[in-house]
Each structure stands twice: as C-alpha cells, then as structure tokens.
C-alpha cells in the first residue's frame, strides 16, 4: 500500500465537509453528459457516425475535443503537483507535451486524415498485407490505451479518496467501477459523436477552471510573475534552486539520462497516441484537421502556460509539508490551491475546491471515454472486421462488435483498475507515451514517407518497439526495486531508467528499417503511389 492511501490527509478532512457540494457538481456534469450521449446515440446511424462522429465537426470543435482528450489528469493534477514540489523541473513536462504537437501538425495529421477511415491501422495497413499489420496495429493500440486507461483509473481512485475522504478499499473499488460503467455508457451509446461532445464540455470546464485559478493567483501577486516566482522559491524552502532545473532529475548521471529519455518520449509520443489520431477523422477534410491541430496547440499551449501559475502559486501559498501530507506526489496541489485561494474556512474556498475537484473528475471521465473509444474502434475495425471476418463483415456487424468491445474493454479496465489503484500514475502515462513513440510513430512515418517500406518492416517496428518498450519498463525501477515501485519488496530492475524511450524509440525506428531491407518481398509500389497521392492531395478521402 502506498503512502498516499494510508495518510488520512488534511485535504480529505477539509474536503469531507464539502463533500455534498463536490458530489452535486459532479452529478450535474454526469447528468448533462449522459443527456448528450443519449442524444448523440440517436443520431448515430452508420459506422462513420460511430467511429468518426459523421466527420461533421468543425475545426474549432475538434480542436477543443482534441484538447479535452489530451489534457488528462496527469496534465492538470500531475504537472501542477510536480511544479509545486520540484519547481522548475515540473514545468519541463508542460513543454514536452506541447512541442510534441508540431510532429502531429507537420507530419501526421493531414496525411492520416486523407488516407485513413477510422483507425490508425487503416494507414499502417494501406499498402501492406492487411491481416498481420492490422493485428499488430490493433494490438499496439489496445496496449497503449490500456496503460493510459490504468493511469486515469488509478488517478480517479487517488483523487476520490483524497477529496471525498473515501479511504476504504471497497469504496475505491466502487469509484473505479463507477468510472468504468460511465465510460461504457458514453462510448457504446454515444460513439464518437457523444464522446466528442463530452470532450468539448470537459475542455471548456477545465480551461475555465484553470483561468479562474490563474487569475486569482496572479491577483495575489499584482500580476507580477517575478514576485510569484520569488515567493514560491522562498516558501518552498529551497531558494533559487526551486527556479532552476535539477531538483528532480539533476541528482546524478542516471537521473539526467532518465530526463532525456522522458523528454524524447514526450515529444515523439503524441503523434502516435491512437486516441488522438482518431480525432482527425471527425472533421470533413485535411485542411480542417490542420486547423483543429492549430486550435489544439493554442488551447493546450495556453493551458500549459497557466500550469506555471497553478504550480508556482501552490508552492508560494501552501507549505510544502501540507502539499506532501495531502499526496506525496503532489497530485492534490491544484485542488488545495483552490481551497487556499478562496480561504480555508470560508464558503468561497469550499466552492472553489468543489469546482476544481469536479473539473478534475470530469477530466478523468472524458479522457477515459476517449481511450475506450480508440481501443474498441481498433478492435472492431482492425481485428474483428478485417482480420477475423476478412473484410466481409457488414457495417451493422462491425458496429455491434465495437459496442461489445467497449463493454469488454470497460470490464477489463475496471478489473485492472481496481488491482492497479495504488500504482504510480505518472509512470504509467509516460510509459504510454514511450510505447506510442516506439511502436506507432516509426511505423506511421515509414508508411507515409518511405517508398520501400514493407509488411515485414511494419511488423518489426510495431512489435519491436512494443516489446522493447514494455519489456524495459518491466525491468525498470517503476516495477520493482525502488520504494515507489509497483512491487517494492522484490528487485529485478536491471534497467536503471524509469522511462524506456531513450532505447526503445531508436530501436523501433531501427527495426522498421532493418525489417524492410531484410525482407524478401518487394514493396507494393502501386499501392504506395495510391497512398502517397491520396495522403497529399485528399483524393478519394472518405
């Protein structure tokens, strides 16, 4: 059991008085989104509706939804907490998460929109032998999404136990199960249309809440950033070091390498995340996909800039002891900051805390829905329709399979989520990014831009990147041999880094190249001509 669970915390005590308010706001969000889901469900008639929301969302709507899908609990709670505890080093996450969008904008979003229909597998398998490549793409989609899902589920458990004062195991299992059931309902009934609306609402709530807190923080410091940073440094007890890199990752050579590994995984992971990629299919064409990425870059960039105020504001206004007592990883710094800004014993403080907590729940719920949709789409479209049924399934059968896959993936992630509720959230998210960057990104880039790329190359890069990334994590300090590991009591961690990206990403690229040059089959030149022309011009795009 991790320390975050055994602590009966200050935040929990303060929050439990205002439990009713938090629950009311949260129930409001759930009722509103369920209403939209049912409405969207009625409008969902064919596969393009279910997988791609009918491709009728505007660039701005999709930009909002992309932001909603991307800004997970790890961004909101995790980064604010990391800055509050480690100062400048926490801010490094924000930068990596944002810069990563340029890879999606310049290389992936438009060609993907032009040449695929519903899933990442559509593009990877375009000129390859369908069955093996779609199996590989589906496997990698589901594995990346499940790691990401686990992180969100574990996050939900931690948040709820801290904010609502639920500390019993049964209570936390119940919350994880509730999140799971809600996401099954959102996705199986509302499909992409319903999920997209949920993302948009969540994005507006999250941005609104963040602007409010940022404004209140800046107001306290008369909009003087230098004063804010100075107070944060002084109050943290670490002085100027708090404003410089190195507090978290600067300890020794290994942790510095770990930092590089994390940095690479963050910047290259985004363009390989299946739940982000399928969002580009919800707009009418590639131009709209480009514009939605631009909106997302603006919204997400603005949000990450505000994490400076959130994180350093928490460090300036709350003592380090209080933040750590509430959650050793700082995950509750943002809600705590809301409470302090409003006044610890005042009604205003209670309202702010309740609002920010409800926003955090909404965040988790929406991201979980997006991930479930990505994995059930890939299961139904890549594995069921094209591998098991060899492309002979009707649209109706495919949609039915997608709905059943949603239930199945929901149940699996509830089961894993209840088991994984004490795991390290940040580690799981960074792992999802590393796996996406190692297995998916090389395969996507080779598929789109390399004429010679073959089926064997695609399989080697997906499975090679996947196996090495997951394998290295298994033998890393995330899983064993460290106080904060999943299994702290055993030690089989021979790989010293927390994040495998430094090794596994180049390995994925290398395997794709090696698999291609060593393969006996000729590349399908005609199919590549079709893919290349379609991806750049949008000819025949669905």
């Amino acid at each position: 059991m991790s320390p975050s669970i055994t602590h009966v915390t200050l935040a929990a005590n303060e929050a439990s008085e205002h439990r009713a308010l938090i629950i009311t706001l949260f129930v409001l969000f759930v009722v509103a989104t369920l209403g939209i889901t049912v409405w969207a469900g009625r409008q969902t008639k064919d596969a393009a509706d279910f997988y791609a929301g009918g491709r009728q969302f505007s660039a701005f709507q999709n930009g909002l939804a992309v932001s909603g899908d991307y800004m997970s609990a790890a961004s909101f709670l995790g980064i604010a907490g990391a800055i509050a505890l480690f100062g400048y080093d926490g801010f490094l996450y924000s930068i990596g998460f944002l810069v990563a969008w340029l890879v999606a904008l310049l290389l992936v979003a438009e060609p993907l929109r032009n040449s695929g229909r519903y899933t990442m597998g559509d593009v990877l398998a375009y000129r390859m032998r369908q069955r093996p490549v779609r199996t590989a793409a589906g496997t990698s989609t589901i594995i990346v999404s499940i790691f990401y899902l686990l992180a969100q589920m574990a996050g939900a458990g931690i948040l709820v136990s801290l904010l609502l004062g639920i500390t019993s195991d049964a209570g936390k299992i119940l919350i994880v199960a509730m999140v799971g059931v809600l996401m099954i309902v959102y996705v199986s009934i509302g499909g992409m249309k319903g999920t997209t609306w949920v993302q948009m609402i969540k994005a507006v709530l999250l941005i609104g809440g963040t602007i409010l807190i940022t404004f209140l923080v800046l107001l306290k410091f008369n909009f003087n950033i230098s004063d804010l940073l100075g107070s944060a440094a002084a109050n943290s007890g670490k002085g100027d070091a708090f404003l410089e890199p190195g507090l978290r990752y600067g300890a020794d050579g290994t942790s510095k390498l770990d930092f590089i590994s994390l940095g690479i995984a963050l910047v290259l992971g985004t363009a390989g995340l299946p739940h982000i990629l399928i969002r580009f299919y919800t707009v009418p064409n590639a131009k709209a996909a480009r514009k939605s990425v631009n909106w997302a870059i603006g919204i997400i960039g603005g949000f990450y800039l505000m994490t400076i105020a959130l994180g350093f504001g928490a460090a300036a206004l709350i003592s380090q002891d209080e933040i750590i007592a509430s959650n050793p990883s700082g995950n509750t710094a943002a809600p705590l900051l809301a409470l302090h800004l409003g006044g610890v014993d005042s009604a205003w403080g209670a309202i702010l805390l309740a609002t920010i907590s409800a926003v955090a729940f909404a965040t988790i719920l929406a991201v979980v829905a997006g991930l479930t949709l990505a994995s059930s789409s890939s299961f139904a479209h890549d594995i069921y329709a094209n591998v098991i049924r060899k492309g002979k399934a009707t649209e109706k059968e495919e949609m039915k399979a997608a709905r059943w896959a949603t239930v199945l993936i929901g149940v699996v992630s509830i089961a894993l989520g209840t088991l994984a509720r004490d795991l390290n959230v940040a580690g799981l998210v960074a792992l999802a990014f590393a796996v996406a960057a190692s297995a998916n990104l090389p395969t996507i880039l080779y598929s789109l831009f390399w004429k010679r790329f073959t089926t064997q190359g695609a399989l080697w890069s997906i499975y090679g990147g996947l196996i090495v990334a997951v394998g290295l994590v298994l033998f890393s300090p995330v899983v064993s041999g460290a106080p904060k590991a999943m299994f702290p009591d055993v030690d089989f961690a021979w790989f010293p880094l927390q994040n495998p990206g430094l090794i596994s990403i180049p390995f994925g690229f290398l395997m794709g190249w090696l698999g291609t040059v060593l393969s006996k089959e000729e590349p399908d030149v005609k199919k590549y001509a079709e893919l290349e022309v379609r991806s750049l011009t949008g000819t025949g795009a669905h």
Binding site: Y88, D89, F91, L92, I95, G96, L98, V99, W101, L102, V103, L105, L106, L107, E110, N224, I225, S226, D227, L229, G230, A233, D240, L243, E244, P245, G246, Y249, G250, K256, F259, I260, G263, I264, V267, K287, R290, K291, V293, N294, I297, G298, G301, Y304, L305, F449, V525, K526, K527, A529, E530, E532, V533, R534, L536, T537, G538, T539, G540
Partner: protein, 117 residues
C-alpha cells in the same frame, strides 16, 4: 465532388491504380511532394534539435540556466517560454505555407483525378 462531372466516370472518387501511378510520377505532383517535404522535414529536425538543446541545457548547463535576467526571472524560465513561442510560431508558419503552397496544388490534382479527366 463536382456535380457536373463528365458522365463516363461511374465512381468519381475512385480512380484506377494506373491513374495514381501516373500522377505520382508527374512533375506537378513531384512539386507538391517537394514543397511539403522540403518545408516539413527540415523544420521538424530544427524544432526537435531546439527542444533537445533545451533538455540538454537543463541537464548539463545548470549555471547558465540559473543566470538571473531580471527580478526572479532566469534564463531557464525564458528558455522555457521561448519553447512555447517557437511552437506557436512554427504552427502559424507551417499553416501559412500549406495554405499558400500546398493546398492549391493538392486541390488541382484532386479535382483532375476525381473528375476522371
């Protein structure tokens, strides 16, 4: 999808495989490919190098990053904000390039292919 497309083509959005190969080898498409790659590839390398420079400085140039510029604002902070600024600028720059240089060429080829001309 031109409504007044010539009658012979039965499915406007599905040109045959030969048509694609022909287009791929055409000078016009070569130019479109070049306009995309010669812009996107070097720029991708550039922003990744710029980002890695930032990561490496954070790791190995602590003294430089800790230099105070004004008040409590140090080089590290400004460097971080600059990453935001360059991201916004590159996104804007690429979109301008795409709208001016890529979209018209892509549109012309698409119209011709789908029109079956």
């Amino acid at each position: 999808m031109a409504a007044d497309a010539p009658p012979p083509s039965t499915d406007q959005s599905a040109p045959g495989p030969e048509a694609y190969t022909e287009v791929q080898e055409s000078a016009e498409f070569g130019e479109l490919r070049r306009s995309h790659r010669s812009f996107a590839f070097p720029l991708t390398v550039a922003f990744i190098v710029w980002y890695l420079l930032y990561v490496l400085c954070s790791n190995y140039a602590g003294g430089f990053m800790g230099t105070k510029l004004f008040g409590n604002i140090n080089v590290a902070f400004v460097f971080g904000i600059l990453q935001f600024v360059t991201t916004f600028l590159i996104a804007w720059w690429y979109s301008r390039h795409a709208a001016a240089k890529l979209d018209p060429k892509a549109e012309a080829i698409k119209t011709r292919l789908e029109g079956g001309a």
